[in-house]
């Protein structure tokens, strides 16, 4: 890897190791959240929805390690359970966006010409809809809820994913191995499936990690507006908004803890995504 002569200090090594350490830390944070989400029932000291009005706004105690919310529900348990929609929602939305985006992008790159122009125009149009506005429109049309919010945010993410994949697919399309397969008489579908897609996969994967951070924010914002995950299910976005009335009364913990969870996870995914993207770029 290192090309510097022995004895001289390789200046480039330091920041690279540093950025790797940061990326691994981000990866560890993500893993921690995954563990919290999967094992929430084992880790949570209380039922996240158990009310105890006598303990409303309880300060941190042995019984409630992070205190309780306005209805006396344990904040730690709600935060742990809140990791579930926080990861599940974006995972489903990103998968949806990736599937749609890849199909559209590969079709666009493969056929070119008019198909490419029409698809590109449609994607431009979708670009004009900020994800949150699309989610609002969809919620108004089909009703609010976890599923509709995932559909809306996932679809809004399609142009971002499709644009990157289209560029890469066009690059691959021009390569000799595709030409060779065509000359051999392989059907287009087979070439796409067995040769083009595997070569586009690294780009797809990179874009997925980058999209994840944005999608978390968008879904949490939809929940914050009360149009995503519905009460009483614990969800970080809804907790920020539910905690807001307590915050005004001088009990900011619910909003602040939930905000902190969202920020930490989003930053972790951004850092990790950037690192993956940089590595993929370097590999070329």
């Amino acid at each position: 890897m290192s090309t510097s002569a022995a004895g001289t200090v390789d200046r480039r090594r330091l920041p690279r190791d540093w950025s790797r350490a940061v990326a691994w830390t981000a990866g560890a944070v993500i893993l921690l959240v995954v563990v919290a989400a999967v094992f929430a029932p084992l880790l949570a000291p209380h039922n996240p929805n158990a009310l105890n009005l006598n303990e409303a706004f309880s300060a941190p105690t042995a019984r409630y390690p992070l205190g309780a919310d306005a209805s006396g529900r344990d904040l730690l348990s709600r935060l742990l359970y809140g990791a579930r929609p926080a990861l599940l929602g974006p995972t489903l939305a990103v998968l949806l966006a990736t599937m749609l985006g890849t199909v559209v992008a590969v079709a666009s790159a493969w056929f070119g010409g008019l198909a490419d122009r029409v698809i590109s125009r449609l994607l431009d149009l979708l670009f004009a809809f900020p994800p949150l506005l699309l989610a609002l429109l969809v919620a108004a049309t089909f009703g609010a809820g976890f599923t509709t919010s995932i559909l809306a945010v996932g679809i809004a993410e399609v142009p971002y994913i499709a644009r990157v994949i289209r560029t890469e697919a066009i690059r691959q399309r021009k390569r000799p191995y595709i030409e060779g397969s065509l000359v051999q008489g392989l059907p287009g579908v087979a070439i796409i499936w067995r040769h083009l897609l595997p070569n586009v996969a690294p780009t797809v994967f990179t874009q997925m990690t980058l999209s994840f951070g944005y999608v978390i924010v968008n879904l949490a914002a939809v929940s914050f507006l009360g149009l995503g995950v519905q009460a009483p299910t614990a969800d970080w976005g809804s907790m920020v908004s539910e905690g807001q009335s307590s915050l005004v009364q001088g009990y900011p913990q619910e909003s602040l803890y939930a905000s902190a969870c969202i920020i930490v996870v989003v930053v972790a995914f951004t850092v990790f995504g950037d690192w993956v993207a940089a590595r993929m770029e370097a590999r070329r």
């Binding site: 004009a128 949490a220 914002a221 914050f224 908004s241 915050l247 905000s259």
Partner: protein, 315 residues
């Protein structure tokens, strides 16, 4: 140049038309009859149904209906709210000032902080670069509503420097109620702007003409202003356009977070109340505003860098 301008404006009109069609037809994607949908959750007598039928021209074909909707928009007839017995425009109009103020202030902060810090990071030493990069990486991950919670708790509730909710009266009152929200809104977009500006300026700084200018003995301030920044400007402008989508969309959230009674919170409450005619008009307004701003940015970029005309005209 003229070809590019005309082409860009035609594009704008075309996209606006298609968007209006998409937003308009979303009502008809709903399974079941539009009447049942429009009156969902509310008792409707025959007179109300007749009024809704007339309002949405439900007894007409799809395209004549769309045409009525569209020409209504052009004549300033934005339809009637189903929840408040008022015209949609009379609901939106008093709420616009505070919304526009919030967006304008946040955009100003974003551009000022984003471009300044981005340029500083790209042009100065390693330590400041690293500090700004770390700050912006974290900043990008701070959603407006999370920032709102923190800012509200610290500056409005604990320190009492800013009001907790409401619009205030008069421009000064509006401003007072909007400042904290604009900061919440600007944090992530400014951080994003920093990253984009930094990479645009770095890319220009590495080019050969910079070495030439240095070799010619041009003062570095002039190289930066007259050459690097000017060449980076189109990318920075385009980045600003992308950032603007984020600000416009998150503005809706910030209004709800700060209890500001503007167009954004009207949109959210109308979604909750299924006041579809208001939702349609507001979504269309937001998307149109965003598209128009993006077009203006493209045209300004064209003015700054006339070379873009070739690219735009042949696209």
């Amino acid at each position: 140049m003229l070809v590019a301008v005309v082409k860009r404006l035609t594009e704008l009109v075309a996209t606006l038309l298609v968007t209006s069609l998409a937003v308009f037809s979303s009502l008809y994607l709903v399974p079941g009859s539009p009447i049942a949908y429009l009156t969902r959750g509310r008792a409707a007598d025959a007179a109300a149904i007749a009024r809704i039928t007339a309002q949405y021209h439900l007894n007409e074909e799809f395209f004549p209906r769309y045409w009525t909707f569209l020409s209504g928009l052009f004549h300033g007839d934005l339809g009637q709210s189903l929840v408040y017995n008022e015209s949609t425009w009379s609901l939106i109009e008093p709420r616009l000032t505070v919304t526009l103020l919030l967006i304008a202030l946040a955009t100003l902060e974003t551009v000022a902080v984003g471009v300044a810090l981005g340029a500083v990071a790209a042009l100065t030493g390693k330590a400041s670069d690293m500090g700004i990069v770390i700050g912006s990486t974290i900043g990008v991950g701070i959603p407006a509503f999370a920032a709102s919670a923190v800012l509200l708790s610290v500056f409005a509730v604990n320190l009492g420097w800013f009001p907790v909710a409401g619009n205030g009266s008069g421009l000064a009152g509006n401003l007072d109620h909007v400042v904290l929200g604009s900061v919440a809104l600007a944090i992530s977009s400014a951080a994003y702007m920093v990253r984009l500006t930094r990479s645009a300026v770095r890319e220009e700084r590495a080019k050969e003409y910079v070495d030439t200018a240095n070799a010619r003995g041009l003062p570095s301030g002039q190289t930066v202003r007259r050459h690097i920044m000017r060449n980076a400007a189109p990318s920075i402008l385009t980045a600003g356009g992308v950032t603007f989508i984020g600000i416009m969309a998150s503005e809706v959230v910030v209004e709800s977070a700060f209890g500001i009674n503007g167009a954004g919170s009207l949109l959210v409450s109308s979604v909750g109340a299924k006041d579809f005619s208001v939702v349609q008009v507001l979504v269309l307004m937001y998307v149109a505003a965003f598209m128009i701003v993006n077009t203006v940015i493209d045209l300004v970029a064209l003015r700054v860098d006339p070379r873009l005309a070739i690219e735009m005209a042949t696209r």
